[in-house]
């Protein structure tokens, strides 16, 4: 008999969580990475407290994008290499559900911490305080979106075939709209303008992605295992 959705989801969450926590260093790493790279920008651009705030939204969001890019990269890789993926495909559990669970847990250990700590980083870049709510909201929606899109790419590229490069060519540009809307939302808020419309757009994209992406992910995993 096929297992209940909830039990599978909770099991997947627990498993991924364990994998993340097994080494305490790793769970902190997205944050540290964020903090470290944020520091690079003043060093590269100059410490000028006048211009820095103007850049803050773009910088924050580009680094967030990069963090989730790096995190998404190896998302299914180890599962593919040690054969767990085959077992997942063979199990009666619905692949749609499990992939959604994978993405969720991935977001919980990368996107969520970023969202929560983003105000700190924003203050280091002297982003005006009034922009913080918009920043956090955009992070909340945006990182989830990035996780979903990123894992499509990860699923399709996991079986290291020539196709790999093509896919990342296709996937990476999908990050563009996220970056545009999210960053501009923050910039608007920093200038005291209403940022609602961009956030609504992000929310809409997220809703669509949550519904549609798992299909793409599942398909990608099937193809990868079959080709392997």
């Amino acid at each position: 008999m096929s297992p209940g959705v909830l039990s599978v989801v909770s099991a997947a969450l627990r498993r991924q969580w364990l994998l993340a926590v097994r080494r305490p260093a790793d769970t902190l790493n997205p944050l540290l990475f964020f903090l470290v790279t944020i520091t690079l920008f003043p060093l590269g651009i100059g410490p000028d407290p006048v211009q820095l705030p103007a850049f803050a939204p773009g910088i924050l969001w580009i680094v967030a994008l990069l963090a989730s890019l790096m995190a998404a990269d190896g998302m299914f890789l180890s599962d593919y290499e040690d054969g767990s993926l085959e077992q997942l495909l063979l199990s009666p559990a619905s692949l749609y559900v499990t992939s959604l669970a994978y993405v969720t847990s991935h977001w919980l250990v990368t996107g969520l911490p970023l969202t929560l700590l983003s105000p700190l980083f924003a203050l280091m870049l002297q982003l005006p305080v009034q922009a913080l709510p918009a920043l956090m909201l955009s992070m909340l929606l945006g990182t989830a979106l990035l996780s979903l899109v990123g894992s499509i790419g990860a699923a399709l590229t996991v079986s290291l075939k020539r196709g790999g490069m093509l896919i990342s060519l296709i996937i990476v540009p999908l990050y563009v709209p996220v970056l545009i809307f999210a960053a501009s939302a923050v910039r608007y808020a920093a200038q005291g303008l209403p940022a609602g419309s961009q956030l609504f757009l992000l929310g809409g994209m997220l809703a669509f992605a949550v519904a549609a992406a798992p299909f793409a992910i599942a398909a990608g995993l099937r193809i990868s295992v079959d080709a392997g």
Binding site: P24, A25, T39, L43, G46, P47, D48, P49, V50, L52
Partner: protein, 255 residues
């Protein structure tokens, strides 16, 4: 000479000696801290420009100075552990990292708190602040690397290599950051120069700096003792320690 090295290598001896040292050093440190704090906070005239907020200097500067020194302590210990394969040096290095990181953090936080009244903002990308932040990252890197290895023997080796690489780089980093800052004409911020610091302000500061050095030493030794106990758990000297005579047994529980 070599016999001394040998002794240094042996956990029980180290444990005993460190116990004796601490018995003296710990009270001394506390006394100096209290004295320095009282002297600095109560018996020095307020700064003509910053008023009373400047008194944070008595916690900020010592922390900042010791933080840097701490990294070299760690790196030298690492070098010794690599070259002479000395376990005790490994322990020292492993235990110096969190203490140094804590000092750095103290410097950062106290500085940030200081920044609010002085610069109107918690953080500015000033050369010294930035290099302090980077130093903090260097510490975190060592700690995280040690955590990430299951096999602590390997972890110690890896951290030793890393801290050595870091040592080579620290001067370069500091110089480059200073240069970077002077490159963009420093914005409105101005540090209160040491020269303008009145001697009545300076003396307690020096006392505090000495106190912080001692504090670093104490924290390091305490850390090492607990590490020694953990590593030696099961060996007879630890059992003798805990079961044998209650005196040190109690002490171990306290420390």
């Amino acid at each position: 000479m070599w016999t001394f090295f040998h002794k240094l290598g042996s956990p029980p001896w180290m444990y005993r000696i460190s116990g004796r040292i601490l018995a003296v050093l710990l009270p001394l440190t506390l006394a100096m801290l209290v004295a320095g704090a009282i002297w600095g906070l109560l018996y020095t005239p307020p700064d003509f420009r910053q008023g009373n907020s400047f008194r944070i200097i008595y916690f900020h500067v010592p922390a900042a100075v010791v933080a840097l020194a701490g990294y070299y302590v760690m790196a030298i210990a690492g070098a010794i552990s690599l070259i002479w394969r000395m376990k005790m040096a490994e322990v020292a290095m492993k235990c110096a990292a969190p203490v140094g990181a804590a000092m750095t953090f103290l410097g950062l936080v106290s500085g940030a708190i200081w920044g609010k009244p002085t610069w109107g903002t918690y953080w500015v990308w000033d050369a010294r602040l930035t290099s302090m932040l980077i130093l903090f990252f260097l510490y975190l890197g060592v700690i995280a690397l040690y955590q990430a290895y299951e096999n602590k023997e390997a972890a110690a080796k890896a951290c030793a290599v890393l801290s050595l690489v870091g040592t080579v780089n620290i001067p370069i980093i500091y110089k480059s950051v200073d240069w970077w800052y002077s490159l963009h004409q420093p914005a409105t911020i101005k540090f209160t120069e040491e020269s303008t610091m009145h001697s009545s302000m300076l003396q307690p500061l020096l006392l505090m700096i000495v106190a912080y050095y001692c504090l670093f030493g104490c924290a390091l030794l305490l850390n090492m003792r607990s590490e020694l106990l953990q590593r030696g758990s099961g060996t007879q000297w630890v059992r003798a320690l805990v079961v044998g005579d209650r005196g040190t047994g109690g002490e171990t529980r306290v420390l």
